[in-house]
C-alpha cells in the first residue's frame, strides 16, 4: 500500500466512526436522542467545545502544566533508570541482593501511590512528576540493565583486545548498548510519563489535562470529558511524533526493517 492510500484509509476509518457516532446521537435509533446525547454527546458538540477551549486560550495553561510534568517525569525517570540499570548490570552482587525488592516495587500498581505522593509533595506538579517517575524508571531500568548485560560477547572481547580499559569500555561499548535499549523503549516510557501526569492530575490537582477531564466528569459534562480526551489524544500524537524524530536521529546506525538502512 502506498503512503497516500494508507493515509486515505486511516482518515476513512476515522470518518466512518465519526459518522456512526453522529447517527446514533442525532437520530432516535437506540432510545431517545436526548438520552443518547446525555451519555455520548455528539461529534459536533465535542468539536465545538474543543475549538472554544482553544479560542478562549484557557486550555494552553493546562497543556503547559501536563507537558511540564511529562517532561520532568521522563527526564528524572530515564536518568534514574539509566544510572541504576548501569550500576546493577555491572555489580552482580548488588543486583542479586536487590532483586526481590525491585520486582516487588515494579509489581505494585502505581495508582495506590498517588494519594501518598499528594501527601508528600503537595497538589502541585511534583506529586505528578513522582507518579510518572515510578512508571518511567522501571521501564528504563529494566531495558538498560538488559542492554548492558546482553552486549555481544564478541564485540566486548574485541574491544578488550583493542586494549580498552574499564572507562573506555564504558564509553564505547556499554554506554551505547544501554542507550540503544533505552531508545528502543522511548515510545513506551514517554507514554508512561504522560500517563503518570494525567492520572496524577485526575486523582487530585487544580490544573492539567487530567484535571480538566475530572472536572467535567464530576458534573456529568460528557461533552467536556470527550473534548478533553480528544485534546489529550492529539497531544499524545504530537509528542509521539517528536519522539520518532529524535529516535531516527539517534539510531542512524541501526538497520531498519528488512535490513535496509534508515535515511
Amino acid at each position: 500500500m502506498t503512503r497516500f492510500k494508507l493515509l486515505l484509509a486511516q482518515i476513512g476509518v476515522g470518518l466512518v466512526l465519526l459518522a456512526l457516532w453522529h447517527l446514533v446521537t442525532n437520530y432516535p435509533i437506540f432510545g431517545t436522542v436526548k438520552n443518547a446525547q446525555f451519555f455520548f454527546s455528539t461529534p459536533g458538540d465535542v468539536m465545538l467545545r474543543v475549538v472554544r477551549e482553544f479560542a478562549s486560550g484557557e486550555i494552553w495553561r493546562h497543556l503547559w502544566i501536563t507537558l511540564q510534568e511529562t517532561v520532568l517525569a521522563f527526564v528524572f525517570g530515564a536518568g534514574g533508570g539509566i544510572l541504576m540499570g548501569f550500576l546493577f548490570a555491572r555489580r552482580e552482587l548488588l543486583a542479586a541482593v536487590f532483586d526481590p525488592y525491585i520486582k516487588a516495587a515494579n509489581a505494585l500498581p502505581r495508582v495506590v501511590l498517588a494519594p501518598i505522593f499528594a501527601l508528600w509533595f503537595g497538589l502541585g506538579i511534583w506529586s505528578k512528576v513522582a507518579l510518572g517517575f515510578t512508571l518511567v524508571f522501571f521501564i528504563v531500568f529494566f531495558n538498560v540493565y538488559q542492554g548492558v548485560r546482553e552486549v555481544s560477547p564478541t564485540v566486548l572481547a574485541n574491544a578488550r583486545m583493542l586494549g580498552m580499559n574499564e572507562r573506555q569500555l564504558l564509553r564505547h561499548v556499554y554506554w551505547p548498548a544501554a542507550l540503544t535499549w533505552m531508545f528502543s523503549s522511548l515510545h513506551t516510557s514517554v507514554g508512561f510519563a504522560l500517563v503518570g501526569a494525567v492520572v496524577g492530575e485526575y486523582l487530585g490537582s487544580s490544573a492539567g489535562l487530567g484535571y480538566k477531564i475530572q472536572e467535567a466528569e464530576s458534573v456529568f459534562d460528557v461533552t467536556g470529558v470527550f473534548a478533553g480526551m480528544v485534546i489529550l489524544a492529539v497531544f499524545v500524537l504530537v509528542i509521539d511524533s517528536i519522539v520518532t524524530v529524535i529516535e531516527n536521529r539517534l539510531l542512524v546506525w541501526r538497520p531498519g526493517p528488512g535490513g535496509v538502512g534508515k535515511s
Partner: protein
C-alpha cells in the same frame, strides 16, 4: 619440546589442554596436548575439521580463555590475563555496530593515547589501504560481509600488534574475493612480517598464504596431527601460486596425511 631455543618464539603453546564445563556437571575436553611454536615473522596456518577447537586455541593465545592444563607463553613470558601484544581478528562480527567504519578503526588507537585528530587521519589511511575509502561514514550494517572483515582487519592492524591472530577472516566470502583479500593480507604482512596464526578450513588458502600448515584432528580431545613446512617462494600471488607444481605436491602431501590421520583418529575413537 615446543620451546624454541632461547625461548624466543612469539607464541608458544606447551601441553595446552582446554576443557569446557557442560550442563549437568559433565566436562567437554575440547583440545589436549597441544604443542605449537610460532617464530617471530612466521605465518602459520591452522586447518582442521569444524568444531575441532581452532577458535578455542586462538582464544587461549589471546588470553581470553584459561587453559585447563599446559602453558601459553608470549615472547618467552608466561601469559597472564589478556595478551596485549597480539591483535585478534574474530571469526564472528566484532565491530561496534554504533560506530561508523572510520570510528571503529580510529577508536582502536584511543587506548594507546593517540589524539583523536591524528587517530582519524591514520584510520582514514588504513581504510584506504584496505580499499574502503568511500565507506568511511558507513555503519557496519550498511557494509557487506567482506567489507566488514576489511574494516575489522584495519582495526586490528592500525594498532601494529606484534602477533596477529586471525580466525577464518575470509570465511563468508566467495572464492574470488578470498583471493583478493589473501593478496591484500600478504602485501600488508610483507611490509613488516609479524607472527601470524591464521585459522582457516580451506587447505588451499592455508598453503597459499603460510610458511607452515598445522593440521588438527577432530574433537573431542583434538590435537595437532601434522605440521608441514610450505617451501613456496615469496612474494606470492595467492591465486597464481595454486598453479605451481610444488603447491600441488604440498597439497597432496598434507591432504593424504590429513585423511590418514583423521581415519586413524576415527579408528582409535571406535576402539576406545
Amino acid at each position: 619440546m615446543a620451546d624454541e631455543p632461547g625461548g624466543s618464539a612469539a607464541v608458544t603453546l606447551a601441553g595446552v589442554a582446554i576443557a569446557f564445563p557442560l550442563a549437568g556437571g559433565a566436562i567437554y575436553q575440547a583440545v589436549q596436548g597441544i604443542d605449537l611454536a610460532v617464530r617471530p615473522g612466521e605465518f602459520v596456518a591452522i586447518v582442521g575439521p569444524t568444531g575441532c577447537g581452532k577458535s578455542t586455541l586462538l582464544n587461549a593465545t589471546a588470553g581470553l580463555l584459561q587453559p585447563s592444563a599446559g602453558r601459553v607463553s608470549i615472547f618467552g613470558a608466561p601469559l597472564s590475563g589478556l595478551n596485549g601484544r597480539s591483535g585478534y581478528l574474530f571469526q564472528a562480527d566484532a565491530l561496534m555496530p554504533w560506530k561508523t567504519a572510520l570510528d571503529n578503526v580510529a577508536v582502536a588507537l584511543e587506548p594507546q593515547g593517540v589524539r583523536r585528530g591524528e587517530a582519524l587521519e591514520r584510520a582514514t589511511q588504513w581504510l584506504t589501504r584496505v580499499g574502503l575509502k568511500t565507506f568511511l561514514g558507513s555503519y557496519p550494517h550498511m557494509l557487506s560481509g567482506g567489507q566488514r572483515k576489511r574494516v575489522a582487519l584495519a582495526q586490528v592492524l592500525i594498532r601494529n600488534p606484534e602477533i596477529l591472530l586471525m580466525d577464518e577472516p575470509f570465511g563468508p566470502l566467495d572464492a574470488q574475493t578470498r583471493q583478493i583479500m589473501g593478496n591484500l593480507l600478504l602485501n600488508l604482512w610483507a611490509q613488516d612480517r609479524k607472527a601470524v596464526l591464521f585459522v582457516t578450513h580451506d587447505l588451499e588458502e592455508a598453503i597459499a598464504l603460510s610458511d607452515r600448515v598445522v593440521v588438527m584432528s577432530a574433537g573431542p580431545a583434538a590435537t595437532i596431527i601434522g605440521d608441514f613446512r610450505v617451501g613456496l617462494d615469496r612474494p606470492r600471488d595467492a591465486a597464481e601460486i595454486r598453479l605451481d607444481p610444488e603447491f600441488h605436491r604440498i597439497h597432496k602431501e598434507i591432504w593424504s596425511s590429513l585423511r590418514a590421520e583423521v581415519q586413524k583418529a576415527y579408528a582409535f575413537g571406535e576402539a576406545g
